[in-house]
């Protein structure tokens, strides 16, 4: 693997340089207290590691799997035509390890038996520049095995104090650093020592830890636990956790008809398994009738069903769901209760 060093005083120049590879997007202030991936016009506005701006409101999925996406236009006279408007290349700068793992997770989901062209035609236009981060109280990527990333980036920047050690992940990434001229330098012993010191220290920075081992089996045993009813009473089914989740991928497809009653557009938009309509079928039957059923379904899909399909939980430990839940549901706390607390969780069935 090729590794070079980007001194911190060259970071803005490098972001400017990246514009020649596509429109650069990076975390910048959104609203009064938050940040979001947005197009960069002034590199000095890019937020890297500033306190309180650790996680963007929406994860990267918004670029490949749009919140609302017009798929096609239809008309009885001309049939249907793809509504996709060709998008230029993008370079997304400042992506944390958990969010890169999330994209790899979505790549797996959308490249299954039926490859989702709507997703991949945008995905292949995006270069990803990862960056190391310092966890806050809600981060638990360490526990989910997503605090470190080996693939899924074109470049990955690791903070070593006065600069970043830049790991080159792809040939595109190599082009980015090769063409950067004297912005990039070599690295020395002190950089290697600092890199190792930070890597070794990293696990101890996490305040939130959870042990996922054996959770799928325990979730099976606790399928009838009272905890689901309790959470069903608390949850709004508002959908926020699904919208902000970097690995939630469900969508709904609807046709909108124009005023002529004939022509129209087919749109797909982000959906959530927490909605009553999600598992509703013709005739009004609902496979997940109660709020508790739907809450349990989402939780089990993250930590159990996805494990069966893809060999790992779909949760990457980014902390967005807990941060944004209006009902104050602490999702790590949920795992801990189900996993560890033998006093308050039980099967709801009499022992034989």
């Amino acid at each position: 693997m090729k590794i070079v060093k980007l001194p911190k005083n060259k970071t803005n120049d490098f972001i400017e340089h990246l514009q020649s590879f596509g429109e650069v997007h990076a975390p910048q202030k959104k609203g009064k207290k938050s940040c979001a991936f947005q197009p960069v016009t002034d590199p000095s506005k890019v937020l890297i590691g500033e306190e309180g701006f650790l996680r963007t409101i929406l994860p990267l999925k918004k670029y490949f799997h749009k919140p609302v996406d017009t798929l096609l236009k239809f008309s009885p006279k001309t049939g249907f035509e793809d509504a996709y408007e060709e998008e230029g290349n993008k370079v997304i700068f400042g992506v944390h390890s958990c969010d890169i793992h999330a994209i790899l997770s979505l790549d797996r989901v959308f490249s299954g038996k039926y490859v989702d062209t709507y997703y991949f035609r945008r995905r292949k236009k995006v270069a990803i520049i990862g960056i190391s981060c310092v966890p806050d109280d809600l981060c638990y990527c360490q526990s989910m095995g997503t605090s470190f990333v080996e693939e899924g980036f074109d470049l990955f920047l690791s903070d070593v104090g006065d600069g970043y050690l830049v790991k080159v992940g792809t040939s595109l990434g190599d082009d980015m650093v090769s063409s950067a001229g004297d912005m990039m330098t070599g690295y020395g012993d002190s950089d290697i020592n600092e890199y190792k010191r930070r890597i070794n220290e990293f696990p101890s920075l996490f305040k939130t830890k959870v042990d996922e081992a054996d959770l799928p089996a325990i979730l099976d045993m606790e399928y009838k636990s009272e905890i689901w009813e309790e959470m069903g009473n608390r949850c709004f089914n508002c959908g926020i956790c699904s919208m902000v989740c970097p690995t939630c991928f469900c969508f709904d497809v609807n046709d909108e008809v124009c005023l002529d009653g004939e022509t129209g557009e087919r749109k797909r938009c982000w959906d959530s398994c927490l909605f009553k309509s999600h598992a509703m079928v013709a005739g009004g039957h609902n496979f997940r009738e109660s709020r508790a059923d739907r809450f349990k379904h989402r939780f089990l899909h993250k930590h159990q069903a996805f494990m069966g399909d893809f060999g790992r939980p779909s949760c990457v430990g980014c902390g967005r769901c807990t941060q944004d839940c209006p009902a104050d549901i602490h999702f790590v706390g949920m795992v801990k209760r189900i996993k560890d607390d033998i006093t308050c969780v039980h099967s709801g069935e009499e022992e034989k």
């Binding site: 207290k33 409101i57 508002c238 926020i240 909108e256 008809v257 005023l259 129209g264 709020r291 941060q323």
Partner: protein, 254 residues
């Protein structure tokens, strides 16, 4: 195929929903090209009392005469669509629906009030069958135009069955409730407005009415945590939706 005959009617209200239909300026000619608008009190004269394919009705039923008007509209319409918070959930006129009408009339109008034939305010569904509702105070014009398109195609419109929060987050808004402690009804209110108020740092005031299965109890306790008094929360939840089946009975003794 003949164009469907459509009427737009108003009971007691501010008539803001009719105004919102007139506000569809860019689409008005297309709308008039697609339907035969035989009655629209705010916009035209020579309105006809004939059989209709679709009747859109705004407003709250607050007088005996309005019950008769509404029933006549229902009798001559294949589809009856409630438009706006008043027609759908009672709206502002129904906030105090449980109070004694005679006493209220005296407080507001004095002796002159004796001649006002006021009855208990009601949403349309309390007097007639409503086929579907377009929510909001006022309605959103894109939903009205969309509904016409669906109806012309022979379908009922697809309306969101999830809360405002989902639309708000799809726009990548910062949460006014979680991040700014601003009381917000988003978690229990039907989407459809594209999170109009929270997008401007105002809490959602619930004009689209409660979403199906709204978790009213949880919303109540969250509002309490945000420092609101019981009567403030009660008012907030009833301003637009006192007669909604989800809110009705939660705060009053009926």
């Amino acid at each position: 195929m003949p164009k469907p005959k459509v009427g737009i009617f108003s009971l007691t209200c501010c008539e803001g929903c009719q105004l919102e239909i007139l506000n569809c300026e860019d689409e008005l000619l297309d709308i008039l090209g697609a339907i035969d608008l035989v009655s629209f009190g705010m916009a035209q004269s020579n309105n006809l009392d004939i059989d209709l394919d679709i009747a859109f009705v705004e407003g709250t039923v607050v007088q005996r005469s309005e019950v008769a008007i509404l029933k006549k509209i229902r009798d001559r319409s294949k589809l009856l669509v409630a438009i706006g918070a008043c027609a759908t959930n009672g709206g502002v006129a129904a906030i105090d629906y449980d109070k004694d009408r005679e006493e209220l009339k005296r407080i507001v109008y004095g002796e002159a009030g004796d001649f006002i034939p006021s009855i208990t305010p009601a949403a349309l569904h309390e007097h007639v069958k409503v086929d579907f509702a377009l929510q909001g105070c006022p309605i959103e014009k894109h939903q009205f135009i969309n509904a016409i398109g669906y109806l012309l195609h022979g379908d009922l419109p697809l309306l969101p069955e999830y809360p405002v929060c989902t639309e708000c987050k799809r726009k990548e808004n910062e949460c006014v409730l979680v991040q700014h402690n601003i009381p917000c009804m988003g978690p229990i209110t039907s989407a459809g407005c594209d999170a109009r108020c929270p997008s401007h740092y105002l809490g959602c005031d619930g004009c689209f009415g409660p979403v199906d299965e709204a978790n009213v109890a949880m919303e109540y306790s969250i509002m309490k945590e945000k420092g609101m008094a019981d009567d403030e929360i009660s008012r907030m939840m009833q301003v637009f939706a006192a007669k909604s089946p989800i809110i009705k009975g939660q705060f009053k003794g009926d």
